[in-house]
């Protein structure tokens, strides 16, 4: 009986609260459902928070360097790329020191690639949970995006250090970085949702991921400047939203200019369309994910 009292003590009367009516139906394409799903995410915000923190904690638990791993990766890549593309290949960077040039692009790129890599496995690696408990499944890939964003913020500290070291002047134009980052997070979320849902049926996606991201990086001006891309392929080249984000990032931070509006508009539009499409597709897969996974 001691047990009962132990539980009762913390229980509040819930009878007065209005009851929520849940309707479970076959999946259908309705705008109302889409809005409800987004509202549901708001209700589950605590889970998004807890799981994101969990991702960060787990990644760095029992490692000696801990959170500084978030710095080691971009800094190491920056050094390697500087060695290869500046000392050996001698890529022209329009007067910007190569280390700074590379890091400015690596920062957003690593956010994107870390988020997408981890999120792709997000559903499959939680199969046990998915077959036991309900929660909006998009939370799983979303939390990987959140965790990658945390790394992005940590790694930004090095960027600030580099800017001070190379005496980059501060300007109001740098505030353009905020809409760029927002759009980039949208795009990353869209890609993460799409791949994680597809991975449920086709595990090939996960296997192909490292190769795909490698190719994607070379199709994005990370190690070379956008000006080096031949003009005749630019029409197709610019459709990659990461081009707009990374070039925008560089322009805003290094040239202290507003980003190229056309480039960013294309990237933003592609991101938005893809996000809506991916979310609908994800919800479609989610309906029966427990049967397939």
């Amino acid at each position: 009986m001691a047990v009962n009292s132990a539980i009762n003590r913390t229980e509040k009367p819930t009878a007065t609260l209005p009851r929520m009516i849940t309707v479970i139906e076959p999946p259908a394409l309705r705008l109302q459902d889409l809005l409800n799903n987004i509202l549901k995410l708001v209700r589950y915000r605590d889970l998004i928070y807890t799981l994101s923190v969990h991702r960060i904690k787990v990644r760095y638990k029992q490692s000696v360097l801990g959170v500084s791993w978030a710095l080691v990766q971009p800094v190491a890549l920056m050094l390697i790329y500087t060695l290869i593309f500046s000392f050996i290949a001698r890529i022209k960077t329009d007067g910007v020191p190569y280390a700074l040039f590379a890091y400015t692009a690596l920062l957003p790129w690593l956010f994107f690639s870390t988020a997408v890599t981890n999120a792709t496995n997000g559903l499959v690696s939680h199969a046990q949970l998915i077959t036991k408990v309900y929660f909006p499944r998009e939370i799983l890939p979303l939390t990987y995006v959140c965790a990658a964003f945390f790394d992005f913020l940590i790694a930004s500290s090095v960027f600030i250090g580099l800017m001070i070291y190379y005496r980059v002047q501060i300007s109001w134009a740098m505030l353009y970085v905020i809409p760029i980052v927002v759009l980039m997070v949208m795009f990353t979320t869209a890609v993460s949702l799409f791949f994680s849902a597809t991975q449920v049926r086709f595990r090939d996606i996960g296997v192909a991921m490292p190769l795909l991201l490698q190719l994607w990086m070379f199709a994005t001006p990370v190690v070379y400047p956008l000006s080096a891309v031949p003009a005749r392929i630019r029409n197709i080249y610019d459709l990659n939203p990461m081009v707009g984000f990374i070039e925008g990032f560089r322009q805003v931070m290094l040239s202290r200019q507003p980003p190229n509006p056309n480039l960013l508009a294309v990237a933003g539009l592609v991101s938005l369309v893809l996000l809506v499409f991916s979310y609908i597709y994800f919800k479609r897969v989610e309906a029966n994910v427990a049967d397939v996974i």
């Binding site: 539980i7 913390t10 929520m20 009516i21 807890t50 799981l51 408990v133």
Partner: protein, 416 residues
């Protein structure tokens, strides 16, 4: 007030049979398999029922009848193929969700993690944390990573979180086999407490005894359809009669050689008064009568009876083989009675099989063997927790009698 409503719910599963690809392009083969080899399996077909507020409804049926599909649909893990389910209020399943734990995180961190997966807010968890830890009996280990936990601790913590969900509608699976006896007691206490506070309960189980104790109404599922709905007692006995049918078709490995020089002709059960019955009760007497016909005189035989649970596990076996008395059969008919002063089997439905063997004969040969040819229902009687009922007597030794008892014991020791 209706808390739960299933309207014409059907659920189809696509079963793809992985075919041996005979050469050719593996990718094309995969696509072919995908297109042509889908078999439809209807786990539920047009299921329609309602559950009133405060009602406890049991769902029973054989394996594959659709019980777990209903459970999955209710907890929104999967969606129906057609039809609609309406749930009025917060529904949660009392399940062990240790699988949501992360080994590197401490018990406390895992409570937050698992709790929020189950739909609790962070504030709510903080409020209940102390009680959760107390219920799980893990006070001094709560800041230890759960990878250092024993499996028992792991399960207790997982279950304790689920027990603190405080839902409007409670979904119960066969969960009571969690932890040790004392912890099981707590869980049962928690469930009856929820029932007392008029929570709506849906209980999916094989354990007919538990269903009868807990549920007001029972739904019997058969091959994905509702076979019948009614009071617990009524439906359970109906289920039991249904159980007889598939028994005969079960093919299991029996003795390869049957000499059939004698045959078992029938089996029936009697209660203590010698009245024929189809059910016994845990802890109460039961007589099992086996009728046989011997086609010739056979010397030194043994009779054996097997009790199988619904999941086809041998639960109990009685035999004359180990007895000192020798049985020689004369040509003609006869009856053997097994008297059981108190039935040890727990409540449930058992399939009963019997065999006649020659004593000391190698396994694989028998005189006759009737596999699971009759069904026995065991009702809750002196039912206890645990795997079986143990017949026991007791004696109280208070402070006054203590001396006497001790004296007695000393005397006995001396005598020995």
């Amino acid at each position: 007030m209706i808390d739960l409503q299933f309207s014409h719910v059907s659920k189809r599963y696509r079963i793809t049979e992985e075919q041996e690809a005979n050469g050719g392009n593996p990718f094309i083969n995969k696509l072919k398999v995908w297109r042509s080899n889908c078999k439809d399996f209807w786990a539920l077909r047009d299921v329609d029922f309602e559950v009133e507020r405060g009602e406890a409804v049991g769902i029973i049926g054989h394996n594959g009848a659709g019980k777990s599909t209903i459970l999955k649909l209710l907890s929104n893990i999967t969606t129906p193929t057609s039809g609609q389910i309406k749930i009025n209020g917060r529904l949660s399943a009392l399940i062990e969700v240790g699988s949501g734990f992360h080994p590197e995180l401490t018990g406390r961190e895992n409570v937050y993690l698992s709790g929020s997966i189950l739909g609790m807010g962070r504030r709510e968890i903080t409020e209940k944390l102390e009680s959760i830890v107390e219920f799980a009996e893990l006070k001094q280990f709560i800041d230890v990573p759960v990878k250092r936990y024993s499996s028992g601790m792991y399960v207790r913590l997982g279950f304790s979180i689920a027990a603190h969900l405080n839902p409007d509608i409670l979904l119960l699976d066969e969960v009571l086999a969690v932890g040790d006896a004392a912890f099981q007691e707590k869980c049962l206490e928690r469930i009856s407490e929820l029932k007392r506070t008029k929570k709506t309960i849906v209980f999916v189980s094989h354990d007919l005894g538990a269903v009868e104790r807990l549920c007001d109404r029972v739904i019997l599922l058969r091959q994905g359809e509702i076979h019948s709905i009614g009071t617990a007692r009524q439906i359970i006995s109906e289920y039991q009669q249904l159980s007889t049918a598939p028994v005969a078709h079960r093919n299991s490995k029996g003795p390869a050689i049957l000499s059939k020089t004698a045959e078992i002709t029938y089996a029936l059960f009697q209660n203590a008064e010698g009245v024929k019955t189809i059910s016994g009760a845990t802890g109460y007497p039961l007589v099992i009568r086996l009728g046989y016909t011997a086609h010739e005189a056979i010397s030194d035989v043994a009779f054996e009876i097997f009790f199988y649970s619904q999941d086809n596990e041998l639960r109990c076996h009685v035999t004359t083989e180990l007895d000192d008395r020798r049985i020689d059969l004369m040509e003609g008919e006869g009856v053997i009675e097994f008297m059981c002063p108190s039935l040890s089997l727990n409540p449930g439905v058992y399939s009963v099989g019997a065999t006649i063997i020659t004593r000391g004969a190698p396994t694989g040969s028998a005189i006759d063997w009737k596999d699971r040819f009759i069904v026995l229902r065991v009702d809750p009687g002196k039912t206890t927790r645990g795997a079986f009922f143990m017949n026991s007597t007791w004696k109280l030794s208070g402070t006054k009698e203590l001396e006497n008892t001790e004296c007695e014991m000393r005397e006995r020791t001396v005598l020995q």
